[in-house]
Each structure stands twice: as structure tokens, then as C-alpha cells.
């Protein structure tokens, strides 16, 4: 296993989404854990196919973002209309909560969405100007019409020769490439 860090991993190319999905499932079922798939467009069921077990960090980030947005939105209105600049509107109490709900709702959505976008970038460690997969010549086709599956060398089952043989044996594999650092 001294070749673990000689390469980033092995990449296999497919010509269609179904081949990629089947290839991912086979690789996942063979016991590989550190696998990743690349495609020009989102594919339904791909996350399951690569055996991705999300810890739900994005969901938690969005929830906390939404909660902060709600509290900020409500708090700001309550503070301005009751403390900072109390104004009698139609004889209603200063903190008339029904009037605050629309803005609280909007703030919940706004901060939750911002948390979703920036949280996604942060948890994915993006933007990332350099990544080893770009060293493969044909990988540029991942943004047009080709589909790629990568098995990383840090996978416990990874063996440069055996894994290459395994990947070449996948149905409809177009080619297998070393991913250099």
C-alpha cells in the first residue's frame, strides 16, 4: 500500500448517465467508500449510487440561518416600534406581533437561503482553484457530454493495479485514467 499517495486516485469515463449510475452502484457495492462522480448535469439518484451518507451539515446550517433570520427580523421590528421609536398606530400595542410576521417570514427565508448558498460553498471547501482531477486531459468533457467516476487513493480498499482492473471491468467503461497530483 505504499502507492497510496502516489496518485490522487483512478478515474473511469462513461458515455451515459445510466452507465455512470450502474458503475457507481457496482463500485459502491464492491466496498469502496471514497468515491466521487462528475457529470455535466444533476442526476437523480447519483448521491445514493455513490453511497453518500450526508451528515446533514447543510441542513443544520440552513436551519440555524433561518432561526437567526426570524429572531433578527422580529427583534428589529419589536425594538424599533417599542423601544427606539415608539409610535401609536391605531391604538394598538407597540409590540403588535401580527404586523411583524410578514417581515419575520421574509427575513427567515432570506437568511436561510444565504446560509444555504454560503454554507454549501463552505462545507464543500469551495471555491477551489486547484483539484487533481483537472490533471486528466479528458476530464474537461465532464462539463459537456461525458460522465466520470473517481476512486480516491485514500480508500482503504484502494490498490493501484487491482482497482484499475476492477474499474476497467465495469460495464461500458470508456477508459480508466490515473489522476496525478
Amino acid at each position: 500500500m505504499n502507492d497510496v499517495h502516489a496518485v490522487y486516485g483512478l478515474m473511469v469515463e462513461f458515455a451515459s448517465t445510466d452507465d455512470l449510475l450502474d458503475g457507481c452502484c457496482t463500485t459502491r457495492d464492491a466496498g469502496f467508500k471514497k468515491i466521487d462522480a462528475f457529470s455535466p448535469a444533476p442526476i437523480h439518484g447519483l448521491t445514493e449510487a455513490i453511497g453518500y451518507q450526508g451528515k446533514g451539515w447543510i441542513a443544520k446550517t440552513v436551519f440555524i440561518g433561518g432561526l437567526l433570520g426570524a429572531l433578527t427580523g422580529f427583534g428589529l421590528q419589536a425594538w424599533t416600534s417599542a423601544v427606539a421609536y415608539p409610535l401609536n398606530i391605531g391604538g394598538r400595542p407597540y409590540v403588535s406581533w401580527p404586523a411583524f410576521i410578514p417581515i419575520t417570514f421574509e427575513m427567515t427565508i432570506l437568511v436561510a437561503v444565504l446560509a444555504a448558498v454560503f454554507g454549501m460553498l463552505a462545507w464543500n471547501k469551495l471555491p477551489q482553484p486547484y483539484h487533481p482531477v483537472f490533471n486528466v486531459q479528458r476530464f474537461k468533457l465532464a462539463s459537456s457530454d461525458r460522465f466520470f467516476l473517481v476512486v480516491e487513493s485514500i480508500d482503504a480498499k484502494f490498490d493501484r493495479d487491482q482497482t484499475r482492473t476492477f474499474l476497467e471491468g465495469l460495464d461500458n467503461a470508456v477508459g480508466v485514467y490515473d489522476v496525478e497530483y
Binding site: 449510475l21 452502484c25 437523480h44 439518484g45 445514493e48 449510487a49 446533514g56 441542513a59 436551519f63 391605531g90 401580527p98 404586523a99 410576521i101 410578514p102
Partner: protein, 396 residues
């Protein structure tokens, strides 16, 4: 293939019918004791159970238009429920009998003393009310029976029959606006005119959304019960429950949005003829209903349904669906009952026995229909594509 694929529900059907008929007998005793109370409780129960055939009507139209795996697995539940609309005509009879006990505008003595009701009389009078009800029922029955009949025809033979799907799509395209309009008008007629001076333009949509929510909850419970049976057993996956759970979450939010919008607008305007509806529901015990609904009809299911894990579990989702169905009744009761005892909370044992009677009989009829055909519309040309999308997922 239909006869062999059909699953009978004789045991459950008989029990539902027995419970229903027992509760109906008990309720009839209540009718002799207090006819007015009987009609009032009947109306609340009626508006509650109306949600299941009509909500299913709306959803089956939506499904016919869009396809999608979540719709195929519950389509037979929806079609069977939509097909029960004729029973709702029968259930409407007590409402007609109790018209003067229910609606102020139907009582000539009250109208004679009330200029506003005289002004509204061209719309709010007994013959026109009955004519409108007849029209709603005619439309509902014609559309739902056609939807069911064509879908049944499609089951015949072993080949996909795209022409029937096309026909169902055309009917459903018209069916969706028809559904929204008839339900809006019907619930305004039957529910809103209980307070004949009061008006709210969102009232009909409140019921449309409530019916959608009740139907989703009911479909989730049925799918969880049926998912072990053929031909559903090999097809239903966690992803389907996830989709239905997401839809239920959306409808919980939509319900809160509609209910709150109506309140916010009336609260902001603060006009005497509009706020009376809320004032009648803000004293004498009724004031506890709104916070209970906010906490348990909205906040609790909303927070529970945020978690993906819970939406993918049939058991957890079923528990939430049962909870939602209970709270749906609390909501309907709060919309209807305070009209008869404003600012003074009252509940009668008929308020419980009548919904049980209606529900038991309806459920028996529904199960009878559900047991008469295959649980999957296998000849719909879109079904393979729709159920294939989940082939890499884990079974439920």
C-alpha cells in the same frame, strides 16, 4: 390481471361499517333529543369528511397532469377516494333538512328584520342555494366518475394505453380549475354563510388547502398500510414517502399562510363587520383554539417534517399524518361551531359521534372501491419511467 391483483379489505371494511352504523344509530338518538344540535354537528362532520373525496379529486387531476412516482403509488387510493363523491350527496341530506336551524338567511323571520340579509337575498335564498349545491354535486360526480372509469378501462388488457392517459390529462386539465372554483363556492355557501354578514375572500382557499392536506395525510397512512402488498411491495421506496412528506410539509405551511393571511388582513383593517368573526372566536373558551392550532396544526408538524430521516420513515410519517388528521378536525370545528355559540365554547357528544359515523361509513365504501382493482395503474405508459427513477434507492 385485475381480479388477481385486487386486494380485498373485508375485515377492515366490515369493522369500519359496523363502527359507522353504530355511531349513526347513536347519533339518531341525539337527533330525537336535539335536532338543531344534530344538524350543527352534522355540518362540521360533513365539511371534515368532504375533504377526502374532494381533496383526492384535486390530487388525482394534479397527478394525471404531471405524472411522477409519488402519484403512481397513491393513485389508486386517490381514485378510490374521489369515486366516493356520490356518498357525499347522501350525507348532504341532513344539511338540507336542517337548513333553517343552520343558516340565519334561510329563516324568513330573521331576514325580515335584517336589511343586509334582504340585500343579499338574491344570492342567499333556499332555492338558489339548493340549485348551486346540485350543480357542485353534478360536476363533482361527472368528473370523478369519468376519471375513475377511464382509469379502470386502462387496466384492461396487457398493453399500455396512451390514448386513455391523454384523455385523462385533458379532463384533468379542466378538472383542476373546476375543483378550485367549485370547492371555493361550495365552502363559502356551506361554511361562510353561517355568519351571513361576514365575508372573507380567502375562505374558499382555506378549505382547498385543508382538503389537500387531509388527502395527503390520508394517502400517506394508506400507502404505509398497503406498501407490503403486491403489486406495490416491489415498487414503494423510501423516496416516495420522502416526496409525500415534503408535499405534506408544503401544505402545512400553505395552511398556515392562508389562515394567517385572513387574520392579518382583518386585524389590520379592524372594521366592525369583519372582526366580528374573530371576536366570536376570541372569548368564552374559543380563544384557546387559535394558539392550539398555531402550535399543533402548524409549528409541531412543520418542525417534525423538516427532518429528512422522519420523512423517509413510513412509521414516523404515518404518526405525523394521523396527528394532522386529528388537528384538521379541530380546525374545521373552530371554523364552524362558534357560529352557533359565539363567545361561548360548547361541545356536544354529537360533535364526536357524527364524524365517527360518517367516517366509518365512508371508509367502508372507500375500502370496497379500493379492493375492486389493482393497486397500481400498470397500463399507464408513463409508469415505468416514473418508477424507474428510484431504482438505485433503497426499498422502504
Amino acid at each position: 390481471m385485475n381480479a388477481s391483483d385486487a386486494v380485498r379489505f373485508n375485515g377492515l371494511q366490515r369493522r369500519a361499517l359496523l363502527v359507522g352504523l353504530g355511531a349513526l344509530a347513536l347519533s339518531l338518538v341525539g337527533w330525537f333529543m336535539d335536532p338543531a344540535q344534530f344538524y350543527r354537528s352534522w355540518l362540521a362532520g360533513y365539511l371534515y369528511w368532504l375533504a377526502f373525496p374532494l381533496g383526492a379529486f384535486g390530487f388525482v387531476c394534479l397527478h394525471n397532469m404531471t405524472g411522477g412516482g409519488w402519484g403512481f403509488v397513491i393513485r389508486r387510493v386517490l381514485e378510490s377516494a374521489a369515486g366516493t363523491t356520490p356518498l357525499m350527496v347522501l350525507f348532504f341530506v341532513p344539511v338540507v333538512l336542517g337548513l333553517t336551524d343552520l343558516y340565519e338567511w334561510a329563516d324568513p323571520a330573521i331576514v325580515a328584520a335584517d336589511p343586509i340579509l334582504q340585500y343579499k337575498a338574491p344570492f342567499l335564498n333556499v332555492p338558489f342555494f339548493l340549485a348551486r349545491a346540485t350543480l357542485y354535486f353534478a360536476v363533482w360526480i361527472v368528473v370523478t366518475q369519468l376519471v375513475v372509469r377511464w382509469s379502470r378501462q386502462q387496466d384492461e388488457g396487457d398493453d399500455p394505453r396512451p390514448n386513455l392517459t391523454r384523455r385523462l390529462q385533458l379532463l384533468s386539465g379542466a378538472g383542476l380549475p373546476i375543483y378550485a372554483l367549485t370547492v371555493s363556492f361550495a365552502t363559502i355557501d356551506w361554511g361562510m354563510t353561517l355568519d351571513p354578514h361576514w365575508f372573507s375572500t380567502i375562505y374558499g382557499l382555506l378549505f382547498v388547502v385543508g382538503q389537500g392536506l387531509a388527502t395527503l395525510a390520508f394517502s400517506i397512512i394508506m400507502l404505509a398500510k398497503l406498501s407490503g402488498r403486491e403489486p406495490l411491495a416491489g415498487v414503494v421506496r423510501r423516496g416516495h414517502f420522502h416526496d409525500l412528506g415534503n408535499l405534506m410539509l408544503a401544505f402545512v405551511m400553505l395552511w398556515a399562510y392562508m389562515s394567517f393571511s385572513q387574520y392579518l388582513i382583518i386585524w389590520s383593517g379592524n372594521l366592525p363587520e369583519e372582526i366580528s368573526w374573530y371576536l366570536n372566536r376570541s372569548a368564552g373558551g374559543w380563544q384557546f383554539f387559535a394558539p392550539v392550532l398555531m402550535a399543533f396544526h402548524f409549528a409541531l408538524p412543520f418542525l417534525l417534517l423538516l427532518a429528512r430521516r422522519r420523512k423517509q420513515s413510513a412509521e414516523a410519517l404515518t404518526r405525523i399524518a394521523v396527528w394532522v388528521l386529528i388537528l384538521r378536525f379541530v380546525d374545521i370545528f373552530w371554523l364552524v361551531a362558534p357560529a352557533f355559540s359565539p363567545r361561548e365554547f360548547q361541545v356536544h357528544w354529537l360533535d364526536l359521534s357524527i364524524p365517527v359515523a360518517m367516517g366509518g361509513i365512508w371508509l367502508a365504501y372507500f375500502l370496497n372501491r379500493l379492493g375492486s382493482w389493482s393497486l397500481l395503474p400498470t397500463n399507464d405508459p408513463r409508469i415505468d419511467e416514473a418508477l424507474k427513477g428510484s431504482s438505485h434507492e433503497v426499498h422502504a
